[in-house]
Symmetry: C2
DNA sequence: TCAATTTTTTACCCGTGAGTAACATCCAGG
DNA sequence: CCTGGATGTTACTCACGGGTAAAAAATTGA
């Protein structure tokens, strides 16, 4: 990384490191504040003046750390996506049946969805991002989706997951899990762990009691 | 309605009716066009000039039929909510066990979520509405939620629905169902009926095959 | 202490889009 | 045919907010 040949072992830390560290810290501070606004008021309704004021600085200061508003949003969702992808990666490596791994994955996913950067994912429609960011956003989401589908396929293969369409299962799970971001309240009656536990259990075992399992849907007459 | 005392029985329809009818038709036309833009580009990113141009009129014409932009969005989501509430009402009246009624409700809900006005509900964050509209929006959603919870309670009482938390069940279902609005593509491989059928079946019966039902979630180590 | 660099501010520009005023047009009914 | 209401247009106002230029302030290294 460094261009000078002197060893980095010297006790007094090189200034450069300190500089970049504090710069990174300030970027983080901007993102943490911004994501809170985005989640509460929405991306469009949040002005960078709002964010700046909340950080006790002025708008151009923010532009010293980010190229534009889009970049801030993008880095927020990427941060969230990384935390989910990490969890997914850990689960993929873990042993067990397909169902066991899917449970772990869904549980971790649910936990993530109660935190700011992931909440931001769920609330961000991709048309809010610039075309370039949008493409990368979608690609990252697809990666996670692929991991999930692989686990589902494994589970269907080993007989622990019901042989429904893998595509429909992943959409259904993603829906229920992403939706958590919309209603979870950290001040509410249940902890994030309890919520995750409960939602996953419902998804895995279904809503029906043992008795009525497998009966077809009866739609009411007319449209 | 009319101030004149003459009977409305005359064969040639009174002009007043015609007027109000065409006015209503034009309001509808505006909404149908607007909702398409809202769903595709988002509410904030849609300008009324866009909508007007697509209808071959100018912006002030739209203001002749709606007080402001908020009113348009509000009436769109209300239209969607009414279609869901109607379905919910029909299901509530229908006989059968709690589970059977919940299945019907979820099925109808899913069908609705593939249509423009309901898609708009799912994509509309309530901070996009004015405080007044937002309150009514929430109230309508709560009504539907109450109906759903009642059905769930009935099902738990009659033993056809698993005795999980009614609140968690309704959130999980709502999430999976509302999410349909985000990914369903009428041009895609499955019809709306097939999608609804499949999602409902997964929700009711769960993802797990018979074998692995009821085993607890194992979270991967660390966070 | 002084020069160079980074960080932050003040003071702007400018495009966009909601909403309006005032004028034109079209139609009924007397 | 002429008047009044409904419908539509042109031509605007105006606030808001993303983004920038340039100067000031703070920091660092010598």
């Amino acid at each position: 990384m460094s261009t000078n040949s002197a060893p980095d072992e010297g006790s007094p830390w090189p200034k450069k490191t300190d500089r970049t560290r504090s710069r990174a810290l300030k970027r983080e501070a901007v993102m943490t504040m911004a994501v809170r606004f985005f989640n509460e008021k929405g991306f469009h309704a949040t002005s960078l003046d709002d964010v700046a004021k909340a950080l006790n600085v002025t708008k151009p200061t923010i532009y010293h750390y980010f190229r534009n508003k889009d970049e801030i949003l993008f880095e927020c969702v990427v941060q969230g996506l990384h935390s989910i992808a990490d969890a997914a990666g850990r689960v993929e490596a873990q042993g067990g049946t397909g169902l066991e791994r899917l449970k772990s994955l869904a549980y971790m996913y649910a936990i993530c969805m109660t935190q700011d950067f992931c909440i931001c994912i769920s609330r961000t429609a991709d048309h809010e991002l610039s075309p370039a960011s949008r493409a990368r956003f979608r690609a990252l989401k697809r990666e996670i989706d692929q991991t999930m589908r692989q686990v589902i396929r494994d589970g269907i293969a080993d007989g622990t997951i019901a042989p429904e369409s893998e595509r429909m299962i992943s959409f259904t799970l993603a829906g229920a899990l992403n939706w958590i971001a919309r209603w979870f309240d950290p001040e509410g009656p249940m902890s994030r762990e309890e919520v995750a536990q409960s939602v996953v259990s419902i998804l895995m075992n279904g809503v029906a009691a043992e008795a009525g399992r497998g009966t077809p849907v009866r739609a009411p007459e007319s449209s």
